[in-house]
């Protein structure tokens, strides 16, 4: 049925199916394979649509085609309401994309979360990222009840217990455990700075296998953090992906700095944007410069590009920074039967052909 040769990290029986399990791997997904092979990984964040249209999700994912190894489906980030991460993952896994499902502790309690983990793993979600979540005061619905039944640490431990010990938090047994690669978030740019590396150690102890960081605009600060992380021997136990993203303008930078909790943007960065003729272009340039510095730091396994509302730049940023070193991540390609379907659809939509049986009979009779 498939006329093209199967790509690397793809199940030949169907792109939406999980990959062959490999020894030492905890998931059957693509991202874990890329990281464990020692390749520099690239992940990106999908801007979740405010709509119930599946096509919106597919369009937003198609922008990343062939440039990223995993797509983050955010769980109401910034406490703003959008399509749920589970819903986005359901749509994307069908199409064979490698998704990283984020779970925030803000909105659901342990009963709902454990159920979602099972459902997600059954759908083929291979990576789950455990977050605490922003406070409800930050979002568009500050009147909501903050749940925070678990915190990111106990969430990690819960999912790890489900996977490795095959039981719920309550101790009740699972018949098939969720095979997921576990992620967490780090923020090296917020106080208390001495505690941050130890907190990563704690997350690893709780089950984190990869971490994605908050936006990095201060490379020396990251270097400092990574030095301590290396000294603690944590880079052998966990893959660190650094969050990067283009700033649209100096004004956005200032706004983010004062309104988005936990993002640290040094004055030098704002000044550089301000001095530029084309601020948007300069923001992209700055992002690429940061990636080039970051990829040289020991112990960094990849980058996580968060280009909010500038998703179309992700490909350019990844390409121009050359982090993939010529490697081509998996991309969705049409198969022979897809072409057939497309042709048929085209005929139905554009040729004004009547498709009801009665008309078909009439056509035949009149001929």
């Amino acid at each position: 049925m498939t006329t093209r040769p199967p790509q690397i990290d793809e199940n030949p029986a169907g792109i939406e199916l999980p990959l062959e399990p490999l020894p030492g791997h905890s998931s059957r997904g693509r991202l874990e394979r890329v990281l464990r092979r020692g390749e520099f990984a690239v992940t990106a964040e999908l801007n979740p649509p405010d709509s119930a249209n599946a096509q919106d999700v597919y369009e937003r994912a198609a922008i990343f085609d062939g440039w990223v190894d995993g797509i983050n489906a955010v769980d109401a980030s910034g406490a703003n309401c959008h399509m749920s991460s589970l819903g986005i993952c359901a749509l994307l896994t069908r199409m064979g994309y490698a998704t990283i499902m984020q779970i925030a502790c803000r909105d659901r309690n342990r009963i709902a979360i454990q159920g979602d983990v099972l459902g997600a793993a059954a759908m083929g979600v291979a990576n789950i990222m455990c977050l605490t979540g922003d406070g409800v005061q930050a979002g568009d619905q500050p009147g909501a009840k903050p749940v925070f039944d678990l915190d990111c640490m106990s969430l990690l431990e819960t999912v790890r217990t489900m996977r490795d010990e095959e039981k719920f938090l309550s101790g009740r047994a699972l018949t098939t455990p969720p095979a997921v690669f576990l992620g967490a978030a780090i923020n090296p740019f917020a106080p208390p700075f001495d505690f941050r590396p130890l907190r990563l150690a704690k997350k690893i102890a709780a089950g984190a296998q990869f971490v994605q960081s908050q936006y990095c605009y201060d490379v020396p600060m990251l270097e400092e953090y990574m030095k301590r992380v290396r000294d603690l021997g944590l880079t052998e136990k966990c893959f660190v992906l650094v969050g990067v993203g283009p700033l649209a303008s100096a004004r956005t930078a200032r706004w983010i700095r004062s309104n988005v909790p936990g993002v640290h943007i040094p004055d030098a960065v704002v000044a550089r944007l301000e001095g530029a003729g084309n601020q948007k272009q300069e923001g992209k340039r700055l992002c690429i410069d940061i990636i080039n510095e970051v990829k040289e730091i020991d112990g960094i396994s990849g980058i996580h590009v968060m280009a909010y509302r500038q998703e179309e730049y992700v490909a350019e940023i990844v390409h121009e920074s050359g982090v993939l070193k010529g490697r081509k991540p998996w991309r969705r390609e049409p198969r022979a039967d897809d072409a057939l379907v497309a042709e048929r659809l085209d005929h139905i939509l554009h040729d004004n052909a009547s498709e009801t049986p009665v008309d078909m009979v009439k056509d035949v009779v009149s001929e």
């Binding site: 500050p142 640490m153 208390p192």
Partner: protein, 199 residues
């Protein structure tokens, strides 16, 4: 005509603007603390306790021994019957010193004597990523982040590493019960003598 006017005004004020204006009024307030009291509050005692974490650690160790030594007394009264008065005292004392929320499973010795239930997200395993550059809380800008303080407190304590242990999720069914009595009953149980009536 007037309907038309109303329409134009509603059109100019976006929903986002309304939400932003109401944000201060709507934002999450921890239970039992009214906005007025929050403004008066300077967190004085709580911060004092963190500064004297090492001293309080010492006091608590003596105190726990004393409580354990009183195990026969508790057993005679019955742990269930002792619960009410002990809980009352515990709430007053810890409420004054730590702004205790009576979660019933005290981890103060592992959090530098800074009560984690005062964190608006009730994190028990360390600070979230949103701590402000001045060390204040993301959710409540006027409050020093509970976990920044916890880290400072833990540095002064003897058991510096206790803060690195991964804490289990809160068992909500233990809320509003006495942590002192439970710890004592557990310790007594480990020593071999069983409490008469479960605590």
């Amino acid at each position: 005509m007037s309907g038309n006017e109303a329409q134009t005004t509603t059109r100019t004020v976006a929903q986002a603007t309304l939400v932003r204006r109401a944000r201060d009024k709507l934002a999450y307030k921890p239970a039992d603390v009214s906005p007025q009291r929050r403004l008066q509050r300077r967190y004085t005692m709580r911060l004092w306790s963190v500064r004297h974490a090492r001293f309080l650690e010492w006091v608590y160790a003596r105190f726990a021994d004393l409580f354990l030594a009183l195990h026969p007394v508790w057993n005679a009264i019955g742990y269930v019957r002792a619960e009410r008065p002990v809980k009352f005292i515990e709430r007053q004392v810890k409420g004054l010193m730590f702004d205790c929320r009576m979660c019933g499973q005290c981890v103060l010795s592992a959090t530098g004597m800074s009560c984690p239930m005062n964190c608006p997200k009730q994190l028990r395993n360390g600070p979230c990523g949103g701590v402000r550059a001045n060390g204040h809380c993301e959710v409540e800008p006027d409050m020093p982040c509970v976990w920044v303080k916890a880290w400072e407190g833990a540095q002064t304590m003897r058991a510096t590493d206790a803060i690195l242990a991964v804490q289990k999720p809160v068992d909500q069914s233990l809320r509003e019960t006495s942590a002192w009595l439970r710890v004592t009953a557990l310790a007594a149980g480990e020593r071999g003598d069983r409490p008469e009536s479960g605590a």
